[in-house]
């Protein structure tokens, strides 16, 4: 029972953090960059671990952010200097980084407790078995247990994301709306681009254990896209995105429980189903409005006759 609560709490925070960051990726038309960073941070984690021999959260986040920013910068450079199309550049860089990460994992398999399957798909059901301890002098089984590592990782990142958005709301809004206008107001748009990429890197790395590299993209893109369809302001879009993400977690978790299947995959499927439902409802509304107008018009014609 307590394990279920940890799993749900972790999934809920992962989904919320991804939804918030995803809103800005969608508005800036950089969903592909989210995909890229979520894969290439793997290399960051592996390198950070191999160099420092530590799994401490700040080191993991640091490694991920460095490689995440490198992905964004290198893609941009390939695009500008190499004259390659921007989506091709992104595809080249992140697959390269991800592949190097996979090779390193298989080379040092004995030293890294990451297996390739877990990297790709994650396994949120195993989260409660990897716990954090306070005190006990670093010995894993001593000290006071405070809950799963993955939960605390995403909790810290969620708070960073939330504070960033609250403090820098106006800047993020202006830069997303019209980068050139922001530039004309003296806003450093390059800084804000890499700032967003930092948030994406931290969010994806903290979501890794829970949902893996592939499904984190679903959580970055889908709830934010659903919200985009119905929101009339940035604030409501952020709220709607979080709402959609939490609904996906609730439905997905129930579904996984019923079908005894993967929790993260069920959450992603639920998010997709909610998106299609939203589109369907919007279409029906549109059709109804048009229908109403047509009826009104025909009445007018009839009355005139």
């Amino acid at each position: 029972m307590i394990n279920d609560i940890w799993i749900l709490a972790t999934a809920s925070l992962v989904a919320a953090a991804c939804a918030l960051v995803g809103v800005f990726l969608i508005l800036r038309r950089q969903a592909l960059m989210g995909d890229a960073i979520s894969h290439s941070v793997l290399l960051g984690i592996v390198l950070a671990y191999l160099i420092t021999d530590s799994r401490a959260l700040p080191i993991m986040l640091g490694g991920a952010v460095i490689i995440g920013l490198l992905t964004a910068w290198l893609s941009d450079t390939l695009n500008r200097v190499g004259k390659l199309q921007s989506d091709a550049s992104i595809g080249i860089v992140f697959t390269l980084f991800f592949a190097i990460g996979v090779i390193l994992i298989s080379l040092y398999a004995g030293q890294i407790d990451l297996d390739q399957e877990c990297v790709l798909y994650g396994e949120i059901a195993f989260i409660p078995f990897d716990t954090l301890h306070i005190g006990g002098g670093g010995n894993l089984n001593d000290g006071f247990e405070i809950g799963p590592r993955a939960f605390w990782a995403i909790a810290v990142v969620f708070i960073i994301v939330l504070i960033s958005i609250i403090v820098a709301f106006n800047r993020l809004q202006t830069v997303a709306f019209h980068p050139k206008l922001a530039l004309s107001l003296g806003i450093n748009i390059v800084f804000w681009h890499y700032f967003l990429m930092t948030l994406v890197s931290m969010t994806t790395v903290a979501s890794f254990d829970a949902v893996g590299a592939i499904l984190v993209v679903a959580l970055l893109v889908i709830p934010a896209s659903s919200a985009y369809l119905i929101a009339k302001s940035l604030k409501t879009m952020l709220w709607f995105a979080v709402g959609y993400s939490q609904a996906s977690v609730a439905i997905g978790y129930t579904l996984a429980y019923q079908l005894d299947s993967s929790i993260s995959a069920s959450i992603a499927v639920s998010a997709g189903v909610l998106l299609f439902l939203t589109i369907a409802i919007l279409q029906v509304q549109k059709w109804r409005q048009r229908h109403k107008k047509e009826i009104l018009n025909s009445h007018h014609k009839y009355n005139r006759l």
Binding site: K232, S233, M237
Partner: protein, 267 residues
């Protein structure tokens, strides 16, 4: 205080030897001009002449290959907030989830620190700007729900809220309705009485003589720059739009008509 009257002696915008290229192709070569304060100035030229590019180069939005632009005698970075830029309507994401009032408030963001929220005064300034353009009733609308003319007014209100001294506008009259066009002309008049300077990329030769005090003719290089009555000549039109004979006839007629209108105005 070396200069006794810096406002008079330093032009709001002076461009010297500006060259720009796009994908290795030269777009603008060696453009130099200075404009007077408190006037309306049109940048005129055929399609692809580099009018928008010139505006973007001046604003630092696209890279300059050579030359420089100075604002009130200083580089752009010192005077950013004194210059309000109005982008072309097509360059704006009208599906972005934002309402009219928040767009206009963006005009105040340059003055605010990162953590600061718009104050009551900022909101009052934004409200006045919207009222000046007759858009206050639409303040809660999402921008996608507006007509083309209304969208243009919102962006002009945003520029107005910035309380700038120099306004750079990219085709503000393109695709707007008659009443919006009138509103913009009224706005120009008000701004001029406050001593502000307005530079517009303009494509309609029928109205250029009527709406503007000054013209800068551009076609990959500077053709002419000066007061309308001096530079709106057949020769300059010929040089700017050269080779397009059928068009040229229209232009000559247009020019004739504009001068006729001016003469009538003088009555």
């Amino acid at each position: 205080m070396k200069q006794t009257n810096p406002k008079k002696s330093t032009p709001p915008l002076s461009v010297s030897n500006l060259s720009m290229r796009y994908h290795h192709k030269p777009v603008l070569t060696d453009v130099s001009f200075e404009i007077p304060e408190g006037k309306t100035i049109a940048i005129v030229g055929p399609n692809g002449a580099g009018k928008s590019t010139l505006l973007k180069g001046i604003m630092g939005l696209e890279p300059i290959m050579d030359g420089e632009a100075r604002f009130f005698g200083e580089p752009l970075t010192h005077k950013r907030l004194a210059i309000a830029y109005v982008p072309q309507r097509e360059e704006i994401d009208w599906d972005f989830p934002i309402n009219v009032f928040d767009v206009v408030l963006m005009g105040r963001h340059g003055q605010l620190k990162l953590w600061q929220r718009p104050s009551k005064i900022d909101k009052e300034i934004a409200q006045h700007a919207l009222e000046d353009l007759g858009m206050w009733d639409y303040k809660d609308r999402q921008i996608s729900e507006l007509s083309g003319g209304q969208q243009q007014r919102v962006f002009l209100a945003r520029a107005l809220a910035q309380k700038a001294r120099l306004y750079l506008m990219d085709e503000p009259f393109a695709g707007v309705d008659v009443s919006t066009e009138k509103t913009i002309i009224e706005l120009f008049k008000t701004l001029k009485t406050q001593g502000k300077t307005i530079v517009c990329v303009h494509h309609d030769l029928n109205t250029v003589g009527e709406y503007f005090d000054w013209i800068i003719f551009i076609n990959a290089r500077l053709i002419a720059a000066g007061p309308v009555e001096q530079v709106l000549t057949k020769e300059n039109l010929n040089k700017t739009y050269g080779g397009r004979l059928s068009l040229l006839n229209d232009l000559t007629e247009t020019m004739y008509r504009t001068q006729l209108n001016k003469a009538h105005d003088g009555d």
